[in-house]
């Protein structure tokens, strides 16, 4: 039934193209005389063509351009472009304390968001029970993950706002306590942004762990029970090893994602207070679109790309060694 209607639709679609037959027919006769592999090469290239064009324009060429632009003093309006060799990198690596601070801040965010994986594991263990109605909680904990960063950031910056205009401080005010300067103090702001990230994304780790838990064979637990293993021993020797794959997967993904933190910072703190939550991507954004120094911005992007590439390659090597991942 299904394929029948699809076929009909395709037939009528092909019917539209019959007007081209006078051109297509002579070519088809020529095509059929070619060796099979050449025939398939032509067909394959036609199939790949739309992808290839877009991939070349939006991925392949821009990578080379990024490297090229990073060797220039290049202003966004395109009026002042000058080749300066590796000067951008020299300045970035040796003198630019703001970039160093942003880099450190990014590493700090990476470190502070790693616990998301463990909280995700905790949620997964909490919900991995055959109790009726427990499925609804999976939905609840996962739901924030699909909401846009502007909504999440707005809600949590209102919860943590430093004056009485924030939920927590308004609450404390009733007891004549506070206010706590959540977003006005560098370390606190970093924690607030990290916590928001946790709340936003923990559902993803939870679902990956839940899938992993379901892959562990029940027979292993049954056998362990027969051998008299208690719950902790079962957890330690069956559950933990069984979750190695999702764990490695989530670690890499979390590190890469946290390296690219931008939205939360832009919405919640604008990089502040005093540049304390400015991340690498935020720094690139500021340099390029506030100060219009695209050349300098791309140089930062190159460094970031190198770091992320190293992480990805490390991931590949790790997965190959341990046979985890696909």
């Amino acid at each position: 039934m299904m394929s029948f209607s699809v076929e009909r639709m395709v037939d009528s679609l092909f019917g539209l193209f019959e007007v081209f037959n006078p051109i297509v027919e002579p070519y088809r006769r020529f095509h059929e005389k070619l060796p099979p592999k050449i025939q398939q090469t032509i067909t394959a290239f036609l199939f790949i063509l739309p992808f290839g064009i877009l991939y070349a324009i939006f991925t392949v060429l821009p990578i080379f351009q990024t490297f090229y632009i990073s060797l220039h003093k290049w202003e966004i309006m395109g009026t002042n472009i000058r080749y300066i060799g590796l000067k951008n990198f020299e300045r970035l690596l040796t003198r630019d304390t703001q970039f160093h601070q942003a880099f450190e801040q990014t590493i700090l965010f990476v470190a502070l968001t790693i616990p998301i994986i463990f909280v995700g594991l905790f949620f997964a263990l909490m919900l991995n029970r055959p109790i009726k109605g427990i499925g609804i909680f999976r939905t609840i904990f996962y739901l924030p993950n699909i909401i846009a960063v502007t909504v999440i950031g707005l809600i949590w910056s209102r919860v943590f706002a430093s004056s009485g205009r924030g939920l927590i401080n308004a609450f404390l005010e009733q007891f004549n306590a506070g206010p706590i300067p959540f977003l006005d103090q560098g370390d606190l702001a970093t924690l607030v942004v990290s916590f928001t990230t946790l709340w936003w994304t923990v559902g993803f780790s939870m679902l990956i762990f839940l899938a992993g838990l379901q892959d562990i064979s029940q027979a292993l637990y049954d056998a362990a029970k027969v051998d008299g293993a208690n719950r902790w021993q079962q957890f330690r020797h069956i559950t933990i090893p069984g979750l190695r794959r999702p764990f490695a997967f989530l670690c890499i993904l979390q590190v890469i994602a946290s390296f690219q933190i931008f939205g939360q910072v832009d919405v919640m703190t604008g990089g502040g207070p005093a540049g304390n939550t400015r991340t690498i991507v935020y720094n690139i954004f500021e340099t390029s679109f506030l100060y219009f120094q695209v050349g300098y911005g791309t140089a930062m992007a190159v460094i970031m790309f190198a770091v992320l590439l190293a992480i990805s390659l490390f991931q590949l090597a790790l997965f190959r060694d341990q046979g985890i991942g696909s």
Binding site: Y142, T150, R158, R165
Partner: protein, 288 residues
């Protein structure tokens, strides 16, 4: 079994059921606490500004008002941005699936020159973060004077390495015999692609479509630099700009209503596709 034994068993079952419901109750309370900011956001959107000035930290929507909501729902701007988001994400998703499925078919089924190097070139894209390419792409759109158009929001990311990879893997698993039979009937490659491969791949295509749609809908970095005029904001960017314009103090309730307005379409989308989203996560993470 004796009567006493049966009685004991029933007792134990009852006890177990009671423990289970206590457990669900505990988890439920925790979930409520976890979602408290959301509850507060919803309640706040129904409270008048004067009450919010007096006390922000309340979960009781009294005095009650729909003023914030009627303001938001009457705002033509927000509806326009919502329309932009729907159009951009739908077009982007359809284009990505079409373009990537075509390429994936070639990689999965055809034997051609340069196949391996080309496939490796495509997979290399998996390791390229958006930050490594977005500045030149930004300059390209500047030169073409395409910023502040919906096209600029649709085009980047259509050629997704991940989509090609995922679809190629899936297409490879479709039995060859089906194709051979169709070929005997004189069907060409493109015809086979349309009448055999695509219909048989609906599960993976749906999963991919859902996550592409969500990803594009929620994207932030690209639209915030490309779309700087209010006509072409997506709803996600629009909310950010409203929030900046209204400031922290003046329109608290309205801001909260706007936030919910922004989140609601995606929440509805989520509940419609819930099953596929939950099961699709494993597919899309490449872990299964």
């Amino acid at each position: 079994m004796t009567v006493v034994g049966a009685d004991l068993k029933r007792k134990r079952e009852l006890l177990e059921r009671r423990r289970a419901s206590l457990y669900v109750l505990a988890v439920g309370l925790f979930a409520l606490l976890w979602m408290l900011p959301v509850v507060w956001t919803v309640v706040t959107s129904f409270r008048p500004e004067t009450a919010l000035q007096r006390n922000l930290a309340s979960l009781i929507p009294y005095p009650f008002t729909t003023e914030n909501w009627s303001f938001i729902l009457k705002s033509s701007q927000l509806w326009k941005w919502l329309g932009n988001s729907v159009f951009v994400s739908t077009t982007h998703t359809l284009a990505q699936l079409t373009v990537c499925a075509l390429a994936a078919y070639a990689f999965a089924r055809l034997d051609f020159y340069f196949k391996r190097p080309l496939y490796i070139l495509v997979l290399t894209g998996l390791m390229v973060p958006f930050e490594a390419t977005f500045l030149p792409v930004y300059l390209l759109f500047s030169n073409l004077k395409l910023h502040n158009t919906l096209i600029a929001l649709i085009l980047p990311g259509i050629a997704s390495s991940f989509a090609v990879f995922l679809l190629t893997q899936f297409f490879r698993g479709i039995p060859l015999e089906l194709e051979e039979a169709a070929m005997m009937d004189g069907a060409g490659r493109f015809r086979i692609f349309l009448i055999i491969i695509i219909p048989l791949s609906t599960p993976v295509i749906t999963a991919l479509a859902i996550f592409t749609f969500l990803g594009n809908w929620n994207s932030y970095l690209w639209p915030i630099i490309s779309a700087t005029s209010s006509d072409v904001y997506t709803i996600v960017i629009g909310l950010r700009k409203l929030n900046q314009a209204w400031g922290d103090v003046n329109f608290y309730g309205r801001d909260m209503a706007a936030a919910i307005f922004t989140a609601l379409p995606i929440i509805i989308f989520f509940f419609v596709f819930q099953r596929r989203i939950i099961s699709g996560i494993a597919i899309n993470s490449g872990i299964k």
